[in-house]
Symmetry: C2
Subunit: 132 residues, 2 copies
Amino acid sequence: MLKQETLSKNQQIVLDYIEKVNEPIKAYSILHNVQKKGIKAPLQVYRALDKLVEIGKIHKIESRNAFVACKNSNCQISKATAFSICESCEEVSEISDSKLSKYLKNFQDKAGMKFNKYNLEFFGLCKKCSIK
Amino acid sequence: MLKQETLSKNQQIVLDYIEKVNEPIKAYSILHNVQKKGIKAPLQVYRALDKLVEIGKIHKIESRNAFVACKNSNCQISKATAFSICESCEEVSEISDSKLSKYLKNFQDKAGMKFNKYNLEFFGLCKKCSIK
DNA sequence: TGTTAATTGTTATAATATAACATTGTGTAA
DNA sequence: TTACACAATGTTATATTATAACAATTAACA
Ligand SMILES: [Zn+2]
Ligand SMILES: [Zn+2]
Ligand SMILES: [Zn+2]
Ligand SMILES: [Zn+2]
């Protein structure tokens, strides 16, 4: 079977909503907002989220248990992600920095472990919040 | 009031257990294992965990919702953490690499956000699991 | 000693996520 | 086209992770 090219109905509904809100959003908030589209149960949302993460259309912000659409037109299938998170207003941006990603992709730890994936989350104050 | 020098009773019980097991462990597993010491409720564990994270004695592995003792004798009060995680056996090691931490501490994103903290999690196969 | 903050104890509940199982849809190849 | 395999769906129940609210106690210190 060929690699999936089109999203299933539920996957598309969930992705459409995540892309529309354009900021990190939690699974049950998604559920709430797509019930009018016929999605009724948490599992339907979580299954769509799993697939969307797997194919790199969205990422999970682990420290926030939230999901956000990928802005980098796909992050090598979600294997290398970096975010900045404002601890005051909770604004999250996906970092796209080729030097950083190159550095991390090539990072070799002392135990000789070979990595195929990483997730990096920076925390601080965004510009708006730091002048307050 | 001076900065806390000694841990409270519950904090010490929880830390002792985390240091003893020497691998990432989940909050409710901690609860189970310290009940003989008199800790009865989840909140008692979570409060101790919060404090221990805050003072850098332990770290949270965000992608696993698990907690592990700090091996770097304190990571500048837990503001800069990096881990390698084996996706097969779930072994987790704290990475101590001064070049990496220097690189990340000095990283400046394009939006001009100033960071005071980061968490990095690498995923792959540990040596043992990759020869299987 | 009186005052403040930190810590504890306790019950209840919120928020996040998965198990299990039956059913339906879709792509592929004989 | 039919049969197969796999992906996706629907549904109910439950597991796991974490916090709210409030009262009581303990520790630090001026
Ligand atoms: Zn991305
Ligand atoms: Zn902000
Ligand atoms: Zn550490
Ligand atoms: Zn391993």
